[in-house]
């Protein structure tokens, strides 16, 4: 190992001590607010959409308005006010317990940071379709790609972006296909492959693409990385959570799915005496 002088060891932290360095922007008091090189009040407010600025903050890039409009539409698609959905149920539980709307909404957003649904599976969805396209370009057939992915899951069609819990089929894809068409987006190579994969899965397993698969492929065609999409979508489920919070909040406390004692099924040990503590 390279020998360092003692002070060199923590020089990095000394360089940052008492200072904040930012590559994003900041408030220059009395002069203005900078946001990724833009003057926020002069250049952005009233001139760009909220979603363009959200994506700018998440990626450092100002995207064209139709990309931001597409994101706004998918935000609508992916958060609906049904408290049976897990993140929304967290919001409703916050409402019934009179949490603040911020606490309940944030709690619901956190619930969506899940391997099973919500924001996080988008990372796997984009990783899958991007690596699948790379494999396809190396000469693998779509059927081979599906077979390889299924073999990783014991032969089951558990490919991120395909099939979904509760229901078969996904009405959100139809809505987003229309949005993409209206905004003038062509079908790119990732989305083309996603449809091919869907055809194979439909033939072999009677399963179809879900909104994650559509979204991952579309956004891969737009040049987004998995982490960029995860960051843009951090608060994706917020509005449905808030709606469910309010619905429960506007009813008497603890009336959201109340449970009698008998509604829980106890399967633990039978009653037993607390033993005397052993001598240490």
């Amino acid at each position: 190992m390279k020998n360092k002088k003692e002070t060199d060891v923590f020089q990095l932290w000394d360089e940052h001590r008492g200072k904040i360095r930012s590559r994003k922007g900041g408030w220059l008091i009395g002069k203005g607010v900078l946001c990724h090189g833009y003057d926020m009040m002069e250049d952005l407010v009233g001139k760009y959409s909220y979603f363009q600025v959200l994506i700018l903050n998440a990626t450092g890039r100002m995207v064209e308005k139709r990309v931001a409009d597409w994101f706004e539409a998918i935000y609508i698609c992916l958060s609906w006010p049904d408290p049976r959905i897990w993140c929304n149920r967290v919001g409703a539980l916050g409402g019934t317990m009179r949490s603040s709307p911020v606490a309940a909404t944030v709690a619901g957003i956190l619930a969506g940071d899940s391997k099973a649904y919500g924001q996080k599976p988008l990372v796997e969805g984009l990783n899958f379709i991007q690596s699948a396209l790379a494999e396809k370009k190396k000469g693998l057939s779509t059927r081979d790609i599906v077979a390889a992915e299924c073999s990783r899951h014991g032969g089951k069609p558990q490919i991120m972006g395909y099939a979904r819990p509760i229901a078969k089929g996904d009405e959100r894809i139809v809505a987003m296909e229309k949005v993409a068409g209206d905004l003038g987006f062509p079908v790119g190579e990732h989305l083309e492959l996603a449809y091919e994969i869907e055809r194979v899965l439909a033939e072999e397993f009677d399963e179809s693409m879900n909104i994650n698969g559509y979204m991952s492929a579309f956004l891969s065609d737009q040049g987004f990385t998995p982490q960029e999409v995860y960051r843009i979508c951090a608060i994706l489920v917020a509005s449905g959570v808030t709606a469910c919070y309010i619905d429960a909040f506007e009813r008497p406390p603890e009336t959201f799915l109340p449970l009698r004692c008998e509604d829980m099924e106890y399967q633990g040990p039978p009653p037993r005496e607390v033993p005397p503590r052993e001598k240490s």
């Binding site: 089929g169 829980m264 040990p269 503590r277 240490s280």
Partner: protein, 268 residues
């Protein structure tokens, strides 16, 4: 392709099942419990006869701890009760406090920050799994393997495996002292002992125990599932976070440093 949406015939449970807690309904009102049992033990009896640490262990493991297990857990809880006022999670609590954020939010805010993978709860599960996988192997061989298969980053601290690494470029000797002290309290703590030997092997690379590694080793020795590690680590760190947040809550906004424009450096 025509898209149809149909309900799947998934069989969801009709009732939630738990092995942890049994509530006996009162005769007057089925929503009220007139007795509660934790893994079969009456809660009121536990209040009288057991300590908080013992009941915490019971909740998470399903059985009451031995005297040595309780001692080890309680000592770890004291050792890690406060990440300290310089820790980013504690500073988040302080900012919530001084910012007059609802006091109910101090813990959720700071525990969220403590949930990160750098010196936080998100590294505990990996550290437990690392210890479980390697603690029957020679620590020297494992250290060699770790050094061969990982690359030191160009700048900043290096944690080649979860729970072990450098702190501000150096070995955190205080963590080592905590590990030694914990070991002196019990007859046997295999993961903790192995971790000490592993930390010895890492010393020449200026690496050693991290607080998260110690927590992971104790959790492993106490038989906690790796998945329990993140929440347990948050739980035992929570008192310090709360205390520091509340300390700031009655102070004016000017009580914490606010970097001047000269100290706020915009980089391209």
């Amino acid at each position: 392709m025509k898209r149809r949406v149909e309900r799947r015939s998934e069989a969801f449970a009709l009732r939630t099942v738990t092995r942890i807690w049994e509530e006996q309904a009162s005769e007057e009102n089925p929503y009220l419990a007139d007795s509660c049992r934790c893994y079969g033990y009456d809660l009121l009896d536990l209040m009288e006869k057991r300590t908080l640490v013992e009941v915490l262990f019971l909740l998470l493991r399903g059985e009451l701890p031995s005297a040595q297990e309780a001692r080890l857990l309680e000592s770890l809880m004291i050792a890690l009760i406060n990440p300290g006022p310089r820790h980013p999670a504690t500073r988040a609590a302080m900012i919530a406090g001084v910012g007059k954020t609802d006091p109910a939010h101090i813990l959720p805010i700071s525990l969220g920050i403590l949930g990160g993978s750098h010196l936080g709860a998100d590294s505990i599960e990996g550290a437990i799994r690392f210890l479980r996988k390697h603690m029957k192997s020679d620590p020297g061989s494992v250290a060699c393997q770790v050094m061969e298969t990982n690359q030191r980053p160009k700048e900043g601290d290096w944690h080649p495996v979860p729970g072990f690494g450098s702190r501000f470029g150096s070995i955190d000797s205080y963590s080592r002292e905590i590990a030694d002290r914990l070991l002196s309290l019990v007859d046997s703590a295999k993961a903790l002992s192995w971790g000490n030997a592993f930390a010895d092997e890492l010393r020449i690379y200026q690496l050693g125990w991290l607080p998260t590694g110690i927590a992971a080793a104790v959790f492993s020795d106490l038989g906690f599932h790796p998945r329990a590690g993140a929440g347990l680590f948050q739980l035992i760190s929570a008192p310090g976070l709360l205390a520091h947040g509340l300390e700031q809550a009655n102070k004016p906004l000017t009580s914490l440093p606010f970097p001047s424009d000269e100290e706020y450096i915009l980089e391209k």
